[in-house]
Amino acid sequence: MSLDSPKEPAIELVGIDKKFGTVHANKNINLTVAKGSIHGIIGENGAGKSTLMSILYGFYQADHGEIRISGKPVTIRDSQAAIAAGIGMVHQHFMLVENFTVLENVMLGAEGGQLLAKGVASARKELKRLEDDYGLEVDPDSVIEELPVGSQQRVEILKALYRGAEILILDEPTGVLTPPEADHLFKVLRVLRDQGKTIILITHKLREIMAITDTVSVMRRGEMVATRKTAETTVEELAELMVGRRVLLRVEKGAANPGAVLMSVRNLTVRDSRGVTMVDNVSFDVRAGEIVGIAGVAGNGQSELLEAIAGIRKPSAGEIFIDGKPVAGVDPAGLRELGLAHIPEDRHHMGLVLKFEEYENSILGYHRDAKYGRGPFLDLDAMRRDAEEKIGKYDIRPPNPRLRTANFSGGNQQKIVVAREIERDPKMLIIGQPTRGVDIGAIEFIHKRIIEMRDAGKAVLLVSVELDEIRSLSDRILVMFAGKIVGEKSSEAGEQTLGLMMAGIAA
């Protein structure tokens, strides 16, 4: 990148407008991305980032507006056209064939001719060159499913580059990475930029924006509300622009006042359906009035641990005690009777039935309670009254218990789950990813509720892949790696220390 020449725009979006029915997803968006820069786009869920990028990548057509690539107006009808225009996309959920090799995945759709052999040879050569140029080292012959997540993501980037991408769009790329892997990704992105590629980074993590981007644009409710040079802005300003009001980025909480042990796990081992050990001989206690956080990169057994405690998954060895009573093997209904509430990490598939109306979800798991209907019958009026009460108390929007749950935003969906589990006034609360895909305003709200539960003397077990969240909420932190608890730290432990433990490097 030469500093003296004025940077010409790689992409210009002019007056992009898109409606889905009554939802105005993008309102007259103007955006200029300079060539050879890293441009961040932030905004809460539902702000319209994904729609905008989908228009750029040809998944949707804008109702109005123009897209210019290197100054020339283009029409992008589908992803083929996007690729031809030099745009590559790295999706949040990888689009890889799990049991193909790296090379096969990179070639897929660009095999070059009817016979494979020739294409393979030239692809291998090209792949080697790309890897050398950009420091994207991956073994071309390893099978995707055997690679760590960070490497899989590099394959996605290679795929885009192999197709001649000059412009790379990355959608929430660090969601699945350990801190070291994320650092590595950022290194790669800087090399790409310095070699003249243009990068658009979509994220909701303000820290990443500050760490890596040159310019940042903020979206709110379908509008592009601001564009700033990253060096000239602050995290506080960006957060305010995203939400439209001042937000507390730090959670305020007093000292914990731990009481008796309410929940203990002893030598718990959980195997998945294939017989692979996911939780390996884990033991810990959670006391009344404290929040115990479990840190770890996704896929290191946290999900299985939570499911075992919640009675959804049968442990293959070990014991779980609630109030001193052994409960391994008790089903979720029985555990709820004992005062265990569970905010599951996957609200779409577990915590909610998205096709249900809101009030139906507001009783899920507690539908047997007499207050929701006598005997075998459901009392719809009682259910709706109860739902309306929670909607008011948790400020769930839109305040309509008859609305399909799928039509609520991520934050409001999560509030439906949180309201249901907390309002039952449980003794113990286990929580997985309380704020995944939740906007900043709702995060603040949910964090406050969790602290309130602790201060009311409940035992709280928290699992999150967001290290910041674990650090700011927990009173004690357990780090999980490869199914084992590799260490316990106080909430003051540095990010560096925890990051290394999460990567299994130091204990």
Binding site: G21, A333, H349, V353, L378
Partner: protein, 367 residues
């Protein structure tokens, strides 16, 4: 977001779209009729008059409708719990054995209204029994219910052959069927219902089981949308992971759902066995179990929709029979083609027109 998730008003979703699908189905059926050299309009006219023109035609139409309501409900209940019961055919067949055994045992001693409740229970129990083994295999062993229920259709068919040919046949007769039930084992015809509208039932077999079918529609509606069991079934049907999270036991719900589903299919037998022929005959179900799949699909698995869809298929059955009688070049197989068109357009291609309508609706409302 694609157009699938755009909300449309109910009158479009449940009125206009099915209507347009139906019109398309009739249009393509008309092309087929035209291709074999008959007038499509005349054929349609004959079909409608045959099905709805006279009291007797209506009686036949509602007789078929009755069977389709039972099998449609059977399929719908299972679908709500995420189970695809293809075995309604066999469950109905075995249900016939249950109804017939009750009728044979009681018809000498008591009037029909005493026999009826026992026959309903008998038919439902035998239908449920037929569904029980596939249900258990699905719940405990993970054998796919589609496969097992299909196989049970064949098992039941062979079993009934054996029963009718070897055990229940009237000694000295050739036809594999039971003796004719006495009036105490028959369900009365609904002459008065047709007479209320000024028609005459004539020889049509419309009988009391039509009313039982309507009652079952109401009970199924209560079950699915007003009970805790129905809530658990729907949760499991939409999201098995959410169900396990909520402590809803998979095997229990699968068993209960399939027993109810099989029971409803079994009750279908009341209509032909005790209402029409007054004896148990071989192959009396005649495909009504499979039509139930289409009926449930078209009726959006809702009892009200099932009544309408069952009525449509009743019209096609009765009108089709009249049509092939009046237009000899349109054979029985042609009628099956037309019914296939309806299933294709109204069921399988349900969403084909939706994007177009969504766009038109958006333009029309200016949003």
């Amino acid at each position: 977001m694609s157009t699938v998730s755009v909300p449309l008003p109910a009158w479009i979703n449940y009125g206009l779209i099915p209507l347009l699908n139906l019109i398309l189905a009739f249009f393509f059926s008309g092309l087929v009729v035209w291709a074999i050299g008959e007038s499509p309009f005349e054929a349609l006219q004959l079909l409608l008059i045959g099905a709805l023109g006279r009291g007797e035609g209506i009686g036949f139409t509602l007789f078929y409708t009755t069977s389709f309501i039972f099998t449609g409900l059977s399929v719908a209940v299972a679908i709500h719990a995420g189970l695809f019961n293809i075995g309604s055919e066999g469950q109905a067949y075995l249900g016939g054995l249950g109804a017939a055994l009750v009728a044979l045992a009681m018809d000498r001693y008591v009037p029909w209204y005493v026999t009826m409740p026992f026959a309903v229970i008998g038919a439902a129990l035998f239908g449920a029994a037929c569904a029980a083994i596939p249900a258990w295999l699905q719940a405990k062993r993970g054998s796919h219910i589609v496969i097992t229920t299909i196989m049970f259709n064949f098992i039941v068919s062979s079993l009934m052959n054996y029963m009718l040919v070897r055990l229940l046949i009237v000694p000295g007769k050739m036809a594999p069927e039971t003796r004719t039930f006495l009036p105490g084992g028959q369900l009365p015809k609904l002459d008065w219902l047709i007479a209320m509208f000024g028609g005459k039932l004539g020889a049509a077999p419309l009988n009391f089981s039509f009313l039982i079918a309507l009652i079952m529609c109401f009970l199924v509606w209560v079950l699915i949308w007003r009970t805790k069991l129905g809530y658990e079934m729907r949760t499991l049907g939409i999201s098995p992971t959410a169900a396990s999270y909520a402590g809803i036991r998979y095997s229990k719900i699968v068993m209960i759902t399939m027993l109810i589903s099989g029971g409803l299919a079994g009750m279908m037998a009341l209509n032909p066995v005790m209402g029409a022929s007054a004896r148990l005959q071989i192959e009396f179900v005649g495909g009504a179990g499979f039509v139930g799949i289409a009926v449930s699909l078209m009726g959006r698995n809702h009892p009200a929709g099932i009544i309408l869809a069952a009525l449509l298929f009743g019209i096609l059955y009765q009108g089709g029979a009249e049509l092939s009688f009046d237009m000899p070049s349109i054979t029985r197989d042609m009628i099956v083609v037309i019914q296939g068109m309806v299933i294709l357009f109204a069921g399988a291609l349900e969403y084909m027109l939706r994007p177009v309508i969504v766009r038109a609706y958006q333009q029309f409302t200016g949003k």
